[in-house]
Amino acid sequence: MSYLTIKDLTVRLKNGVPLLRKVSLEVKSGEVRALVGESGAGKSMIGKAVLGILPRAAKLTGGEILLDGEDLLTLPPKARRAKIGAKVALIPQDPLTALNPSRRVGPQITDRLVDILGWKRKQAEDRAAELLDEVHIQSPERVMRSYPHELSGGMRQRILIASAFAAEPKLIIADEPTTALDVTVQKQILKLIREMQERHDTALLFVTHDLGVVSKISQSLTVLYAGMVIEETDVRTFFAEPGHAYSRALLAATPKYTDPDGSLMPVPDSIISQVEQQVAAFDAQLKR
C-alpha cells in the first residue's frame, strides 16, 4: 500500500521558471525508494516540498501530496505541520550544520519526543539513550551531554539518524545523508540507515546522486532530469536493463572497480539533447 503519493507536483521559482515538472511518484509503506539525478535535477526539492520547507524563492504551483491518503496541501497550515511532524522525519545532508551548535545533543533529540508525542523530559531522555545505543554510539549519556562540535562528523550523522527515528515516523526523507562524509564512514552510515529502516519498518525516500549507493539500499528508484521524471522502475530491472537512454548513460558514468575502462563515461551530448528535447516538448504541452 502506498504511504506517500505525489501526483503532478509542480514547483516554480517566483519568476515562473519550473523546478519540478509534474512529478509523480509513490513510496510504499516500509519500502525504500531512491531518487536519483544530477545536481540541480530537483531531487532535494521534492523532499523539501513534502516536508513543507521549500526555500523562499520557490513556490508550489500545482499537484497533490498524499500522505497516508490525506492531501497535505489542502490541510490548514497548522494541521499540516502537526501531521508532517508526527509522520515524517528528515535525515539532512550535512551533519555539520544539522545540529544546533549552541545546544547540547541530548535535548535536540528529546525535543521531538516532547514536542510531537508529548512525552515527559525524563522518559524522552531514556528513549534517546536507547536510540543512541541502537545507532551504535558508545556511552550515550556522555554523548547526550556533549555539544555538537565535540563530536565527529560520523557521530553527528548517527545522532541525526537516531533523532529522525525517535518519534517513530512512518516515512523518512534522507537528503543525501552520506554525501558530506568520507567513503569509509559512508558505508557504515548506509548500513546503519538500512538496519534502522528494517527494524522500524519505515518507508524511506532516499535522495542521492550515487548509483552505487542506490543498489545497496533501495528496492525501487526514480530517475529525475531537470525536474522531470525520466524513468521509474525497481532496482533490479534498472541495473539489468535500464529503460531510458539517459538512465543507460548514467549507469555508464558510474565508476566500476571491475571494469575501469568501460566505466566513468561522460553522458554523451546526443543523449543530453535528447532529454532536453523531451523536457521542451513537455513544457510546450503544458502551455497548451
Partner: protein, 283 residues
C-alpha cells in the same frame, strides 16, 4: 609546547578580570559615592582653587586629586560623575540592545516585508550623522537623564539590528532550522529557541560595546552642556571645564578623561571576553 596553548587560553581570562575589575570598582564608587566622597562635589572654596593632585608641590592632602578652578574637589566630582555615566551605560545600553536585537532578529529570520521595512529604516537612519542627531534630539526633548537615554536608543539601535539580522539570516539557512521546522516547531519558537542562542555571543559583545559608546555619547552631550542640569557633576562637563584651564591645571581635564578612557576600554574588552565565554566552540 603545551604551555603555548595554555598561555593563549589564559589571555582572555586576564582581559576579563582587568576590565571587569575596573567596572566593578566603578559600580561600587557610583553606588557608595555619597559615603566615600571626601567632599561635597558642589561645594566651592575659592581659596583652595586649582590645587594640584597629592604627589605635586603645594597639594592639600584633603583634596586627593586636586581641585578645579572653583575649588571643588575633583575626586568627589568624579565619583558622582560615575553615577550618571554608569546609569546611562546600563540603561541606555540595555534598551538599545533590546530594541535593535529584536528588530534584527525579526528582519533576519522572518524576512519578507518586515525585513524590507526594517532594513530600509536602518539605511535611512545610518545616513544621519549620529552626534548631530543626538544634539538635535536633546534640543527637541529637553535636557535630562531620560532624554539622554532616549537619544542613545534612537540613534544606536541600528548597530544591533544590522549585525543581528545578518547573523540570524546565516543561522536561518542552517539544516538544524529545517529540522526544527519539520518537527513542527512554530516560527517564533524556532527564532527564540534555535536562532537566538546562536546569535547571543554576538549580542553580548555588541551590548558591552554599546555601553561604552553610551558613556561616550553621554560625555559628548555633557561636554556641550546638553545632558543633565549644569550643577550636577559629569565627566563630560568636567572635561569641558578643564579645557579652559589646561595650562594652569592639567589635572582637571586629565583625570575625568582617563576615567572615561578606562571605562570605555573596559566595556569593549569585557565584551570580547564574554563573547568567547558564551561561544560553546571556544569555551
Amino acid at each position: 609546547m603545551h604551555d603555548a596553548r595554555g598561555q593563549i587560553r589564559r589571555l582572555p581570562g586576564l582581559r576579563l578580570w582587568l576590565s571587569g575589575g575596573w567596572l566593578l570598582l566603578l559600580v561600587l564608587a557610583a553606588v557608595f559615592a555619597p559615603m566615600i566622597s571626601p567632599h561635597d562635589p558642589l561645594e566651592q572654596d575659592l581659596f583652595a582653587a586649582r590645587l594640584p593632585p597629592f604627589w605635586q608641590q603645594g597639594a592639600d592632602p584633603a583634596y586627593l586629586l586636586g581641585t578645579d578652578s572653583l575649588g571643588r574637589d575633583l575626586l568627589s566630582r568624579m565619583l558622582y560623575g560615575a553615577r550618571l555615566a554608569l546609569t546611562v551605560a546600563l540603561v541606555a545600553g540595555t534598551l538599545t540592545c533590546l530594541v535593535g536585537a529584536t528588530l534584527g532578529l525579526i528582519a533576519g529570520y522572518f524576512r519578507g516585508w518586515a525585513d524590507l521595512v526594517i532594513s530600509r529604516l536602518v539605511d535611512i537612519w545610518m545616513a544621519f550623522p549620529p552626534v548631530l542627531f543626538a544634539i538635535l534630539l536633546i534640543a527637541v526633548l529637553g535636557t535630562g537623564l531620560t532624554s539622554i537615554i532616549v537619544a542613545i536608543v534612537v540613534i544606536d539601535w541600528t548597530r544591533f539590528s544590522r549585525v543581528v539580522r545578518a547573523e540570524a539570516m546565516s543561522q536561518g539557512a542552517m539544516d538544524y532550522v529545517a529540522s526544527a521546522q519539520v518537527a513542527g516547531r512554530s516560527r517564533l519558537g524556532i527564532a527564540l529557541a534555535e536562532i537566538l542562542p546562536n546569535v547571543l555571543p554576538t549580542i553580548v559583545a555588541l551590548l558591552t560595546l554599546e555601553m561604552g559608546i553610551a558613556v561616550i555619547v553621554e560625555a559628548i552631550l555633557s561636554f556641550v552642556n546638553l545632558s543633565i542640569s549644569t550643577d550636577q557633576p559629569t565627566w563630560g562637563g568636567m572635561i569641558a571645564e578643564g579645557r579652559t584651564s589646561i595650562y594652569q591645571a592639567w589635572w582637571v581635564l586629565v583625570f575625568p578623561l582617563v576615567a572615561l578612557f578606562l571605562t570605555v576600554l573596559s566595556f569593549s574588552q569585557l565584551g570580547e571576553g564574554l563573547k568567547d565565554y558564551f561561544d560553546p566552540v571556544l569555551r
